[in-house]
């Protein structure tokens, strides 16, 4: 505990780096997965192609992906961009399916009503289908957030600075306290991500609470 307090500045700065490496890919991944999921929900054939491709990408183990990306992207191995790209790939892989499932879960009669009210294809997606799919997408995003926070710590093995540093450093120095601090910090960060996503999801879906009020 005293060790953690003595190093609170270091812990916070690495937590910030960790949040950036795990959080930015969540946003990027969601932005990419929305159109892909929309396509997968509308075209059954595209669905098979998209979900197979993203599934294959998700299969590649994280440490291998961190090492394989530099030659593919032309970056240096210590460049944090590799981690951002790798985590974005994983997020897209998880979320494409979730977005498609969420859009397909929208009630048919609701869609019919929207069409009857004169909504065009895109307007209906933006104003009806997407908001109604928010709870499903948020659930997928929570899974992605937790797994991102865990996977980012692996990048400390190749020397990229974030909370995982306390794990590798503590192990190398046979100093268990530091390892525990790293684990707890990762868990807390995952919890923060989880709470933020839940709050945003609630704010975006006010109608889910009107019955109770």
């Amino acid at each position: 505990m005293t060790w953690a307090l003595d190093h609170i500045g270091d812990i916070m700065s690495r937590a910030g780096q960790h949040a950036w490496l795990a959080g930015l890919p969540l946003v990027l991944g969601l932005v990419i997965a929305l159109p892909l999921g929309w396509l997968a929900a509308r075209r059954p054939r595209m669905r098979a192609v998209l979900l197979t491709t993203t599934g294959l990408l998700y299969t590649i183990p994280s440490l291998a992906l961190f090492i394989l990306l530099p030659p593919l992207l032309g970056t240096k191995i210590l460049d944090p961009v590799n981690v951002i790209v790798a985590m974005t790939v994983y997020t897209v892989a998880l979320l494409t399916r979730t977005v498609a499932d969420g859009l397909l879960s929208v009630d048919g009669s609701t869609q019919q009503a929207a069409i009857a009210m004169g909504y065009g294809s895109f307007a209906r997606f933006r104003a009806v289908d997407l908001p109604l799919a928010v709870p499903v997408i948020a659930a997928g995003l929570r899974v992605a957030a937790v797994s991102n926070v865990s996977i980012v710590s692996v990048a400390s093995l190749i020397g990229i600075s974030q909370l995982g540093y306390f794990l590798t450093d503590g192990y190398a120095r046979s100093f268990p306290t530091e390892v525990w601090v790293g684990i707890v910090a990762c868990l807390l960060l995952a919890l923060v991500f989880d709470l933020v996503i839940q709050v945003v999801s609630r704010v975006l879906t006010p109608w889910t609470r009107t019955v109770a009020a």
Partner: protein, 285 residues
């Protein structure tokens, strides 16, 4: 770093011999993976089946899923530091790693088994009971086939998790393909790292492909929809006695509908047989 250097590494005979050769490392990796999965299956499947069947202790599944938030690297280091010194042999590096791999494989297997058994409709269970099945028969002939798709998807994610984490476990001295990545990093041999990463990725893709194939083959035709499709196309193609066309004019609108009704009627028993496996006949001594 070019494709030629990668090619050279893979075609260098020195990389295919001895304990540091590709065949040995691949086999090591597979050995850890299979061993871990077997231990995890023995723990998770009976537990998941019991929780799903009885509906008790559901928090076990929720808890196991929440535990996935623990960073795998941290778990690996923590367990190695505490368990490693307790073991006075060469296994000091293997046992902690396998322990962590088992811990990581349990949640997906547990929730897959639980969700599979839980997805069985009570009506199907009651029907099986009503047909005179014993509790064991209900489990093996009704619940297990229906649970299989969800269980297999749990097995797939457990396998991927184990293959990926076994790679990372090279940092706590486990063998396997992760050695190329970690040793390559230590000796700044970037070519070796990339080649090791390619091998790990290929191993994961092949394992996932095999399990995907197994998933397709093993799932009961009544559940995957194959039986329905097969039976329907059979009913359509091999219908030797089409409905006698009584009269052209006033049956022309009902005519086309007729084969459809016949078709779906005849698939009913076929589907039921595929899903439950005609227990009333087979189980008589």
């Amino acid at each position: 770093m070019s494709l030629a250097t990668i090619w050279d590494w893979f075609t260098d005979p020195a990389n295919w011999q001895g304990t540091d050769g590709v065949p040995h490392r691949v086999l090591e990796h597979l050995f850890y993976t299979v061993l871990t999965l077997l231990i995890a299956l023995v723990i998770a499947v009976p537990l998941g089946a019991w929780v799903g069947h009885s509906g008790r202790l559901r928090w076990l599944v929720t808890g196991a899923n929440a535990a996935r938030a623990v960073p795998t690297l941290g778990l690996l280091f923590a367990v190695s530091m505490f368990v490693g010194p307790l073991i006075q042999s060469d296994l000091a590096f293997v046992i902690p790693s396998i322990t962590v791999l088992v811990l990581l494989a349990i949640p997906p297997l547990l929730s897959g088994t639980y969700a599979g058994i839980d997805s069985v409709e009570p009506a199907a269970r009651d029907a099986a009971r009503g047909m005179g099945m014993t509790g064991w028969q209900v489990l093996t002939k009704v619940e297990a086939p229906i649970a299989l798709p969800l269980f297999l998807s749990g097995l797939r994610s457990a396998t991927l998790q184990v293959i990926a984490t076994a790679t990372i476990a090279a940092s706590v001295s486990l063998g396997g393909l992760g050695r190329y990545l970690i040793d390559g990093l230590a000796s700044r041999d970037y070519v070796q790292m990339v080649c090791g990463s390619i091998l790990v990725a290929v191993l994961a893709l092949v394992a996932d492909g095999i399990l995907a194939l197994l998933e397709k083959r093993a799932v009961s035709p009544g559940i995957s929809g194959r039986a329905t499709r097969v039976a329907r196309s059979r009913a359509r193609n091999s219908d030797p006695h089409p409905e006698p066309d009584l009269d052209g004019a006033d049956r022309s609108d009902t005519g086309p509908r007729q084969p459809a009704v016949v078709g779906s009627g005849s698939t009913g028993p076929v589907e039921a047989t595929a899903a439950t496996g005609t227990p009333s006949e087979r189980d008589r001594p």
